[in-house]
């Protein structure tokens, strides 16, 4: 009960249900739309909220391409899913590796210019890819990395947020652990791999989820560096299906593609959730 007034409980529940509906309703509509045919969507205004019977056909066309009832050619989405997946994984793993090593350097080593480097990393938080898009494009183009996975992922790999998160975590590791490892004869890299990395597993899981979704959602940068249709990530694919002007849009296929685009990040979050919880339940000392 809220403040011992049952009315408040009802009100609280209503507000929460409203919130859930605001978030979930669009997804629901998308899913329903992907089960109908394009004619059904367009002809019935407002669109029927009952599932249609076109589910398999719609998803088949979306994934593998083909001719639709309207006669338009749909590019297969499956390769785009793969491109998105590869670049998201590359970005996430790349960010983790680089941030782990730089946080390790900042916390456990003394070197001239250490604080300067640290503040420089901090300042790059003000430089998301959108700000530096011109020069970055020029460099990538000069290196001949257009239309490649490298061109899509490398400029996005350095991460200040991940570095800070790992740094904060490393600062919580007790000094005695390092001293015990030193007495045991572990050098810095040995300590890194044998002690620090296993202890960081939950932080790594958390950062992986965040960065995977970040990489998956990248739109502006892939738009610039790819011209080859086979190298488009799925978020670009969705956009390209919506052709402005006279041509009729195959809304059911577009909705199906949107659903397909949300599945992998959702899967990653659900899978990694176990790791999060595991790390929270087993309090290490």
């Amino acid at each position: 009960m809220v403040e011992r007034r049952p009315v408040m409980t009802v009100v609280a529940h209503l507000i929460l249900i409203l919130g859930v509906m605001v978030v979930a309703f669009p997804l629901f509509v998308t899913l329903i739309a992907s089960t109908q045919t394009a004619q059904q969507i367009v002809q019935q205004a407002p669109m029927s909220l009952l599932p249609g019977s076109n589910l398999i056909e719609t998803y088949r066309i979306a994934l593998f391409g083909g001719q639709t009832g309207y006669g338009s050619r749909i590019a297969p989405v499956a390769p785009m899913l793969w491109v998105s997946f590869v670049s998201a994984i590359t970005i996430a793993l790349g960010k983790i590796v680089i941030s782990l090593l730089s946080a390790f350097a900042f916390v456990y080593f003394r070197f001239p210019g250490r604080m300067l480097c640290f503040w420089m990393v901090f300042i790059t938080l003000m430089l998301p890819v959108e700000v530096r898009i011109g020069p970055t494009y020029e460099v990538v183009s000069n290196l001949g990395l257009l239309n490649t996975y490298a061109g899509m992922t490398v400029p996005l790999i350095a991460s200040a947020t991940a570095t800070f998160l790992f740094r904060q975590f490393f600062l919580t590791v007790p000094d005695e652990l390092l001293e015990a490892a030193r007495i045991d004869g572990a050098g810095p890299m040995r300590f890194f791999f044998d002690v620090l990395l296993p202890l960081s597993a939950t932080s790594i899981a958390a950062i992986f989820v965040i960065q995977f979704i970040y990489g998956w959602n990248q739109y502006l940068w892939p738009l610039l560096v790819t011209t080859d249709e086979t190298r488009y990530p799925i978020v670009m694919g969705i956009r390209r299906m919506i052709s402005g002007g006279d041509a009729a849009n195959e809304w059911n296929v577009i909705m199906a593609t949107a659903i397909l685009a949300t599945i992998p990040p959702a899967a990653v979050v659900l899978l990694m959730q176990k790791w999060f919880v595991k790390g929270l339940v087993d309090t290490e000392k």
Binding site: E176, L177, E179, A180, D184, A186, L199, D282
Partner: protein, 354 residues
């Protein structure tokens, strides 16, 4: 072999030498197999000294030798030492077995040898049943034993203990203290034990190093330190309740202090301004003697502590539980045998006489 020696060891923190000197020239020789306790209040430099032996702190000046080898610039792993930390410092993600084996694994000791050593140490410490568990599944006392096991398997020349009992509860502390003594008797490895607890120091030490503010006040056996403290600091630090220390004016056989004239049965080693001290258990209540106003009596079980005033100064006397209990407000008369009186020079704070 496992002997340890300090030659004028000095430690400064900060730049330009004299900024912050925490250890002022320590000179000690420790024999092979000795159990040495470094005891002193917080901030006296005892942990810093231990860490310099371990190699975790730099030596500003002076020499530290382990078994005749100068180790000032040697890496901790190469000094042939093992350390037990106050917070155990076990690797949380490794099993007990892996925790103990880690150092040996890095040293590329063959697998069979590692197994043998770990199992032997586990048997000595009775943790054989826990070898597959993780540290978070163990109690504090068990974790400390694993930490000791990790030290034992290295078969070092010197054991270093950094206040290992401070994180344990009182009962466990006594138990682990006995285990450490047993271990020392069995293995006979030179040990350096740091603590702020004088009971631990008295019970464990073969010899004690009493430190205060970076200076060694006295080195000696527990008896030496307790019965013949070299300075007023040692006199007041060792023993609980602490020694009563009074500044007195001695003329002939009369000591004047706190507004009282106390009669002495024997002439003290010097006259004039002195500091007189005696331990609570050496003041015997009787029919005649120094008058003490009783304020409070504490019951400890096997004995009682009588708190009161001698003139203007406070005083504590220890009496047997069976003896007559004085009431608050009563005046009792104390006698202290001359052999139990300690005399100190008020300027140097050092002991006068034997």
């Amino acid at each position: 072999m496992g002997a340890l020696s300090f030659r004028n060891v000095v430690k400064d923190y900060g730049i330009a030498g004299r900024s912050n000197r925490v250890i002022h020239g320590v000179d000690v020789d420790i024999r092979d197999g000795e159990f040495i306790v470094i005891v002193g209040p917080s901030g006296c430099g005892k942990s810093t000294l231990l860490r310099m032996v371990a190699g975790l702190e730099e030596v500003t000046a002076g020499e530290i030798r382990i078994g005749d080898r100068l180790v000032n610039d040697v890496e901790p792993a190469d000094r042939d030492i093992a350390m037990v930390f106050q917070n155990y410092a076990l690797y949380p993600h490794m099993s007990v077995f892996d925790n103990m084996a880690y150092g040996l694994k890095i040293a590329r000791v063959p697998r069979s040898e590692i197994e043998a050593r770990v199992r032997r140490a586990a048997a000595i410490l009775e943790i054989g049943d826990y070898l597959d568990r993780k540290p978070r599944q163990l109690s504090g006392g068990q974790r400390q034993r694993v930490a000791m096991g990790r030290a034992i398997v290295r078969q070092p020349q010197v054991f270093l203990f950094d206040e290992p009992l401070s994180n344990l509860d009182a009962k466990l502390r006594v138990q682990t203290r006995l285990e450490i003594q047993k271990l020392h008797r069995e293995l006979g490895i030179t040990s350096l034990f740091v603590t702020h607890d004088q009971v631990e120091a008295m019970t464990l030490a073969q010899r004690m190093i009493v430190m205060n503010r970076g200076v060694v006040e006295q080195i000696g056996t527990p008896e030496d330190v307790y019965l013949r403290p070299r300075t007023t600091f040692v006199a007041g630090f060792m023993g609980s309740p602490p020694m009563c220390l009074y500044p007195v004016q001695v003329q002939g056989l009369v000591a004047r202090c706190h507004g009282l004239s106390l009669n002495l049965t024997q002439a003290p080693p010097a006259q004039g301004e002195l500091i007189m001290g005696w331990r609570p258990e050496h003041a015997v209540p009787g029919t005649s003697g120094w008058p003490m106003q009783v304020e409070l009596v504490e019951m400890l079980g096997a004995e009682r502590l009588v708190h009161g005033r001698l003139g203007d100064g406070v005083c504590v006397v220890r009496i047997e539980a069976g003896a007559t209990v004085p009431a608050a407000g009563q005046t009792i008369h104390l006698q202290v045998a001359p052999g139990h009186l300690h005399w100190f020079d008020p300027r140097t704070q050092e002991r006068i006489g034997s």
